[in-house]
């Protein structure tokens, strides 16, 4: 940026700026942007820390360090920066800066922060923090003092030291906001106070670097452009039927755009989906609400597109069928629908790449639907066979089923206990025995409960039953059996056990 002093007499501030400047361009070198951003932040922090540390001791040392940082540039600078925090760095600068800038706050500070403020946290955290500090300086002076100081004090010891000095020198006005108010430079002192806020916020992960923000914008812009382009050529003036168009688009996507797009990336897909929807809408206006609904669901969950896609594809197949009809004279029959249904998932999977390309272009949509329809008809047959049987299988479950299912559990246990292969007839016999056993069991329990004058069957009745059966004897108690045969969870429920706090579970 601006080297206020020549190299011959570099101040920590200039050096720091230089480092920051150099660090910025350097980061792109690194393959990972995120890492670069982090690096920048680290660098900044390291340099700041180092500077701050040195500031306390020797100004020259700081300058040297800054110089070395500046010279070492990327690697070394980064290393140094990593050790220090932007805050410390800034502190150092401030410590040195006030010497020169105190008297000329505005002139020196304003121009600097102005350009810097322009670059918000997008750039390196250090930079932003640095720049933010400058604007903060200005407003801080005007703001009520002391607000920032206490908060900042707890953060850094060095800062506290500086703060003390600053407090004495200047009233602290907090508000680290980057207001570009033209305030005097006392802010330089305030800077230190303000800085801590900035660096903190900046140091928060992801704040300094804004690649995600940029991406979002880019994508949005891109999508917007797509929409504009798509809207313009196909049919201008159908924005109202967005939903309908979505449905249409679903049809168009029956090919599998949806599936592919969703599978690829949720966000991107959503965008092109919408674009495609618009286009599709233009192409086909019929699609029913169901399709649009499906489309909407598909659009909503692009990431999980698989399932909604399946639905959409099914519906789309139908829709595409309708569109095919609209486009062509072919009447959609049930088979065609089924085939289209089948085709859409297949076509979708088969043309993921083409879909993506189309997505971008948004033009081939009209072509795909007819193609999809054609495709759907062909692969429809095998799917057709599959589809009809589906509804048949679902039906009301007979009463026996759950009963048999429960019994089968014990039948399996029987075969397990037997440890020998069994015939199927033997298993059926076991089932019958179990049935009879259950009936008998319930009768016995009823008798026992009635004997005790109760309407609820309690574990005592069960114990009596087992005693009568000879399972529980004076030597073998119920608890022993429980421990032997039941898993731990049930044991805990059945056998009262003493727990801490003089409590017994289950309560007796």
């Amino acid at each position: 940026m601006a080297d206020h002093n020549p190299d011959g007499d570099p101040t920590p501030r200039t050096l720091l700026r230089r480092v920051l400047d150099t660090a910025d361009p350097r980061t792109p070198r690194r393959p990972r942007s995120a890492r670069a951003g982090a690096q920048r932040a680290l660098l900044e922090t390291a340099s700041s820390r180092r500077l701050s540390g040195q500031t306390k001791t020797i100004a020259k040392g700081r300058s040297r360090g800054a110089r070395s940082i500046g010279r070492s540039a990327h690697v070394q600078a980064r290393g140094h920066l990593e050790e220090q925090t932007p805050r410390t760095l800034l502190k150092n600068i401030l410590l040195t800066a006030p010497e020169s800038s105190i008297l000329m706050p505005e002139s020196v500070v304003k121009p600097v922060p102005a350009p810097q403020v322009v670059q918000p946290s997008r750039r390196e955290s250090s930079r932003s923090s640095l720049e933010l500090q400058l604007p903060e300086l200005e407003p801080s002076t005007t703001l009520a003092p002391g607000l920032l100081a206490p908060g900042r004090r707890k953060q850094r010891l060095r800062l506290s030291m500086f703060q003390q000095g600053v407090d004495q020198g200047l009233p602290l006005s907090q508000e680290p906001q980057g207001n570009a108010d033209a305030s005097s430079l006392t802010s330089s002192l305030n800077l230190t106070f303000a800085t801590p806020l900035q660096p903190q916020s900046v140091q928060r992960p992801g704040l300094a670097r804004r690649p995600p923000a940029r991406r979002a914008v880019d994508v949005g812009a891109f999508l917007q452009d797509l929409r504009d382009t798509s809207l313009a050529p196909p049919r201008p003036g159908k924005p109202a039927q967005f939903l309908a168009g979505e449905a249409e688009e679903v049809d168009a996507f029956a090919l599998g755009f949806l599936s592919t797009s969703s599978g690829v990336s949720g966000e991107d897909e959503v965008e092109p989906l919408h674009n495609g929807v618009e286009e599709a809408e233009k192409k086909m206006k019929e699609e029913g609400v169901s399709v649009s609904e499906i489309e909407a669901t598909g659009a909503q969950g692009p990431s999980r597109a698989e399932e909604p896609e399946g639905h959409t594809q099914v519906t789309e197949a139908e829709g595409s069928q309708g569109t095919a009809e609209a486009e062509g004279p072919g009447a959609s029959s049930g088979d065609e629908d089924a085939s289209s249904r089948a085709a859409s998932p297949e076509s979708a999977s088969g043309t993921p790449e083409s879909l993506q390309a189309r997505r971008h272009h948004q033009f081939p949509e009209p072509a795909p639907p007819p193609g999809a329809a054609v495709l759907s008809s062909e692969p429809a047959e095998p799917l057709l066979v599959r589809c009809p049987p589906r509804p048949r299988t679902t039906g009301p479950r007979p009463r026996q089923d759950p009963h048999k299912a429960g019994l089968s559990h014990y039948v399996k246990l029987f075969s397990f206990f037997a440890k020998m292969p069994m015939e199927r007839k033997a298993l059926e016999m076991v089932e019958k025995c179990l049935d009879k056993y259950f009936q008998h069991l319930c009768d016995d329990l009823e008798v026992f409960a009635a004997h005790a004058g109760r309407k609820t069957v309690k574990p005592e009745d069960l114990e009596l039953l087992m005693r009568r059966q000879g399972l529980v004897t004076d030597q073998v108690s119920l608890h022993v059996l429980v421990e032997r045969h039941l898993p731990l969870e049930y044991r805990q429920l059945l056998i009262p056990c003493a727990y801490s706090g003089n409590s017994v579970f289950p309560a007796q």
Partner: protein, 91 residues
């Protein structure tokens, strides 16, 4: 613990008790009665022991007849023998 633990299990045996199934069966049989919450576990224990005894008896029968496979006759005979515990009428 149980016998199964001693012998290597070729297949996984679920040790969970089908509590819902048991409750449903009891309700269907005796709608006027109520079953306590831990009662069904004991019922399950009872079933386990019953099945266990039945299986043992069937196995013994099959081994006595020198068959490698358990037949329904073996099972029937076992049930008949064990009916004295449950008063089952042999089918």
């Amino acid at each position: 613990m149980a016998l199964s633990t001693i012998v290597s299990q070729k297949k996984q045996i679920k040790r969970k008790a089908p509590r819902g199934f048991l409750k449903r069966v009891f309700k269907r049989q005796k709608p006027q009665l109520r079953l306590e919450k831990s009662g069904d576990l004991l019922v399950h224990l009872n079933c386990l022991l019953f099945v266990h005894r039945l299986a043992e008896e069937s196995r013994t029968n099959a081994c006595e007849s020198k068959c490698r496979v358990i037949n329904k006759e073996h099972v029937l005979a076992a049930a008949k023998v064990k009916s004295r515990f449950l008063f089952l009428s042999k089918n």
